[in-house]
């Protein structure tokens, strides 16, 4: 188990290095920021001066060295737009996004687990079909549209919840609900079908033959096996979550990583985009690492591969 974790940890660190390099290269491929900062009255000399200021006149490899050194010391550069340190901008935006992402993730996991398992055990009943409908709706309706509808209903018409901002937990209710509804169907479907497979297996028959009560058959014998398949697709769910966060923050005008990166991209604000992408991809890598560990906890066969 310890060896397994160590191996996975090293792999994660390597992947992180890869991501860091890739981000550096990709951002530089997307165009010259100095050109973007020109105004109609600017001269050729201005362009050269700006490039100098930003360090863009140095050879790429030197730029890369400066970039790496900055990362190690926690210096992500300064925003082109307002000259504030990117690390500061991110540390302001990150908590909001984290609150939004983590609460929607937990909420959707709990709901998906309950509905997915119950739908599988009550296969082809009204309940199962209802859950299927819910899943289709969740996947068919774009999240920004659901967000706007929810604002119209609960903020404009009934005025129960605020439509924007991050001041109180109440402000998070609508965005979390919309985001939960957005990522729920995918997880729910995977859990349901994986549960159906497991419920069909011989060892579930054997559990019943032993006289295990049906509740335990499902929540002890079946569920733990049924979680293995959904875990492998956890990466996809996460990708959905991150895309969702960006859109939802925009719809509910919440300051967060989403709005930070959207603004950064619109203005070719290199350091900001770079910083946000780095944070997001490290988050994905860290979560993938945690998922792998969880995987080993659930499935003994994986744990024993590395001993």
């Amino acid at each position: 188990m310890i060896r397994f974790i160590l191996v996975r940890f090293l792999q994660t660190v390597l992947a992180l290095l890869g991501v860091i390099t890739l981000v550096f290269l990709l951002v530089r491929l997307s165009g010259d920021p100095a050109l973007m900062m020109m105004t109609s009255g600017s001269m050729e000399e201005d362009l050269v001066r700006i490039r100098q200021q930003l360090g863009l006149d140095k050879p790429q490899i030197v730029q890369y060295g400066i970039y790496l050194k900055g990362l190690v010391t926690g210096n992500l550069g300064e925003s082109f737009r307002n000259n504030r340190p990117v690390a500061e901008l991110i540390s302001e935006a990150l908590p909001n996004s984290l609150r939004l992402a983590v609460s929607s993730f937990i909420a959707s996991m709990i709901i998906a687990l309950l509905l997915g398992v119950l739908a599988a055990t009550k296969r082809d009943t009204i309940f199962d079909n209802g859950v299927k409908m819910l899943a289709v709706l969740g996947q068919a309706m774009p999240d920004f549209w659901v967000g706007i509808m929810v604002i119209l209903i609960f903020s404009v018409h009934w005025q129960i919840f605020p439509a924007s901002g991050t001041d109180s937990p109440k402000h998070y209710v609508l965005p979390v609900a919309v985001l939960t509804f957005y990522i729920l169907p995918g997880i729910m479907r995977i859990i349901r079908s994986s549960m159906l497979d497991v419920l069909d297996s011989e060892y579930i028959k054997l559990a019943r033959i032993k006289g295990v009560p049906e509740k335990l058959v499902i929540w002890k014998h079946a569920l733990r096996n049924a979680l293995i398949a959904p875990l492998t697709t956890a990466g996809l769910i996460l990708a959905g979550l991150i895309a969702g966060v960006v859109v939802i923050e925009y719809v509910f005008t919440m300051p967060g990583l989403g709005s930070l990166s959207l603004e950064g991209m619109a203005l070719r604000d290199f350091p900001v985009v770079q910083g946000v992408v780095l944070v997001l991809s490290s988050a994905v890598l860290v979560i993938n690492f945690l998922v792998e560990v969880l995987y080993a906890v659930i499935d003994p066969q994986i744990r024993y591969q590395y001993t």
Partner: protein, 323 residues
């Protein structure tokens, strides 16, 4: 004679599907005594597993339903029990071994946990140490080497033969009076199969357990069973003691099955197989179910079902040819 452990009378089990009603078991009667092994033999799809699952009252839902008959286990009428009462009997008074040892054990729990779960549920044992003792002694009963270390293993660490022994230990750990073994050796290779059968004879001698041995192989019957019931398309067409059935098989289907066992003493080593297909259980013919495949049929065979006749020595057969 030792006492009767299980008596099944006129059992009928059907599956209610969208396409129609499948009469998988259609009026089956048999009994098993203490220390006795009854073989149920027949081709694939004739209703052997459904018969076993009906006794366990574990038919696939929705759809599977016992529509008639009585099942009496140690004097208790199983079909009248509540779900909870039935659960207490399952795995305790009656247990079952399934066909495939590779998939019968839960991959994420240790062998010890899986046996202990049964012991904990069905026996009122005060502490963990007593439970572990029971688990170890059930592994010993199945002649599993070094049970104390095996306890901590996961199923994927064991061979197929060893897994099937563990499944046997789970079945035997609460000392059932009836064990239903549904083709427990089909997935194993020949030497391990022979070992497993010898093992069960030994277990029966030690525990007096009554066994229903389900198989489609008459060869296994000769090694293992005291009596045999031959099943065809949801019915028992012939039953007798093993020696009697090999000496004087009456039903043409029984004879065909016996002939299809590969034998070393026969000159031509061609494998005999029965031509044709059994009838659809959804649209059963009015007469004898074997009629279409029978080389010996009479006119009445396609019109009326043959009644069951006792020809002495507890040998019963349902065939118009037998007088």
């Amino acid at each position: 004679m030792s006492k009767i452990v299980l008596e099944v009378e006129g059992l009928r089990t059907s599956f209610f599907t969208r396409k129609g009603i499948v009469k998988a078991v259609d009026g089956v009667s048999f009994f098993v005594r203490e220390k006795e092994t009854l073989g149920i033999v027949g081709e694939s799809g004739c209703g052997k597993t459904v018969t076993g699952m009906s006794i366990m009252r574990l038919l696939p839902e929705p759809g599977g339903k016992i529509v008639g008959g009585r099942i009496t286990l140690n004097g208790t009428s199983l079909l009248e029990l509540s779900k909870r009462e039935m659960r207490n009997i399952r795995g305790c008074m009656v247990s079952m071994i399934l066909q495939d040892p590779m998939t019968s054990l839960n991959p994420v729990y240790t062998i010890g946990d899986q046996i202990a779960e049964s012991v904990r549920m069905h026996q009122n044992l005060a502490d963990e140490k007593m439970i572990t003792n029971e688990v170890v002694s059930s592994l010993r009963l199945l002649q599993i080497p070094s049970p104390e270390t095996l306890l901590k293993n996961y199923p994927f660490q064991l061979s197929g033969g060893m897994r099937q022994r563990v499944v046997g230990a789970i079945a035997m750990c609460c000392k059932p009076s009836l064990l239903i073994a549904d083709e427990p050796t089909t997935a194993l290779d020949a030497t391990i199969q022979a070992q497993y059968i010898a093992l069960f004879k030994d277990i029966q001698a030690k525990t007096d357990v009554a066994i229903i041995f389900i198989t489609h192989d008459f060869g296994v019957i000769a090694d293992m069973c005291h009596r045999v019931a031959v099943m065809y398309a949801g019915k028992i067409v012939e039953s007798a003691s093993t020696s009697e059935i090999f000496k004087k098989p009456q039903h043409p289907y029984t004879r065909a099955l016996i002939n299809s066992v590969p034998r070393l003493d026969r000159k031509d080593d061609r494998l005999y197989s029965i031509e044709g297909q059994p009838p659809s259980l959804m649209h059963l013919p009015p007469g004898c179910r074997f009629c279409e495949r029978c080389s010996d049929s009479l006119e009445i065979c396609s019109k009326e079902e043959p009644p069951e006749k006792n020809i002495g020595n507890n040998h019963t057969v349902s065939c118009w040819r037998v007088q």
